[in-house]
Symmetry: C2
Amino acid sequence: MDIKMIRAAARRQEGHVRRTPLLNSTFVDEIAGRRVWLKAEALQHTGSFKFRGGWSAISALSLEAKKAGVIAFSSGNHAQGVALAAQMHGTSAVIVMPSNAPKLKVDNTRSLGAEVILYDRDTEDRQEIGQRLSEARGLTLIKPYDEPEVIAGQGTCGLEIAEQVSEVGITAADVLVCCGGGGLTSGIALALEADAPEMRVRPVEPVDFDAVTRSLAKGIPQTNSRLGGSICDALLPPTPGSLTFPIMKRLCGAGIVMSDEDCLRAMSVAFTRFKIVLEPGGAIALAAALYHGDHLSGKDVICIASGGNVDADMVSQALADYPCT
Amino acid sequence: MDIKMIRAAARRQEGHVRRTPLLNSTFVDEIAGRRVWLKAEALQHTGSFKFRGGWSAISALSLEAKKAGVIAFSSGNHAQGVALAAQMHGTSAVIVMPSNAPKLKVDNTRSLGAEVILYDRDTEDRQEIGQRLSEARGLTLIKPYDEPEVIAGQGTCGLEIAEQVSEVGITAADVLVCCGGGGLTSGIALALEADAPEMRVRPVEPVDFDAVTRSLAKGIPQTNSRLGGSICDALLPPTPGSLTFPIMKRLCGAGIVMSDEDCLRAMSVAFTRFKIVLEPGGAIALAAALYHGDHLSGKDVICIASGGNVDADMVSQALADYPCT
């Protein structure tokens, strides 16, 4: 797992994966007390960065494996990323999703041509289901984060950030990354180590699902005690990945933990000031920049806005409860 | 008013005006029955394309005029565009706005440091107020569309479209533009005439505020019978501009007229499928692509999503009334 794999993934993505904009707003700078730069991955195909990893993994398969089809387990964004990448490669995808995933994510995954198999997040093991079906049907399993080509694909977001911060004259800043299993976080960290080494990646996690933050603090992998119960449905893995954790341990600064309420407030700010739609987990890095500035240093901060696949009701509620004026 | 002015405006905008992305979605293509490409100007600074023209006009002023300050009249987006451009140039702005403009637009304009003067849209003449204050205070009046440097500034959006359609291999398509007085429409038409001459610009207007569509059909300027009464608050000028109409007459295809309801439906689609927030007038071109495909030809259509400055309540209502699934 190295920078060469990320650069190779970027070449395979050319013309297929969107270069998302780096947005800023004087209104947001004022709330945060520093300049905030939002990497708008919600504008990526399928509404999240996950299409980067899905495309990377499928485009790296042998012709034979591509033809046989793929399988993935996912709370919803990896599902859509893999489903669209499979569809664009002319192959089939089976996706194992929790039965309580947001309706929009399940509907979209089906609409993108995938076969969806639902499981109970509290009582069943998605990894076990995925591996069993993979063997039974001869499908290649594309794990959501503990998969070299997936990490490489997410890392291309970091290559873009390195270019974009250079364009606006920033060399050193904290880079806040919405963190679940660590695929995006470790991919971006590897890319920035190579192309913008003074940037420091900081994972941001929901309260009670802070396994990465605790693992980084203790130096060895910790687990989350629950698998559900936060509105940040995309950020609830059991534990940091065995591939991603060593990378994060070597390259990342301390983790930051934010409440669900702060994510809802950040969703309202993103809507009003950046004109983009974010899901709770996609807004958590922005929330950290806005409401936990004392954990940061420097006059600039980069936030990944990782996804926007959220049911409309939740956004309307966030706008009503936390108006941004 | 020619392409050289647009190219000069683009050079002055470098590093200040955002190059907005051209978005697409297979879900949206399916609704429209052709490929839809959304030029996301809601992601421009101040949430609309108007910052392009504001920056262009102020950056073209003499040092002396810049120092004296500027004045503009606007329903809200030109207001914010001019206010931010003035602030970034270190000068002052007075903005004359209708008293019934969306609260967000008035608040933002004030927050950007401008002095806001409200007038009654139904009984007072904003042009007269603007010109009177301009003379009394020695301020340069920056009209919202009938102003060469403003048209040139908006035209830079067309230069970007020419580059972006070329990147995705499109040479000929209808380009649907949200149309009020015609500043954006005529600017884009001039830019595309030079850089992508097979593209055809089509203005899109709200029902009952279709002066441009009727003017193009008759060949001479027509007026709107009312000045208020559509939710497309950004698209309610009395008549096409005297500078913009001859350009539109020479270069544009027939206009398209859409209902307020179709704009709300398109706002819901933009939210769900593109993850961007659009105001009603900013969604009217997308509405035409989605719900009036029989007025279009070709397998691709480009839509300008011109702005996203809308009160949260209206978006929540659109999402509730017209769910996109």
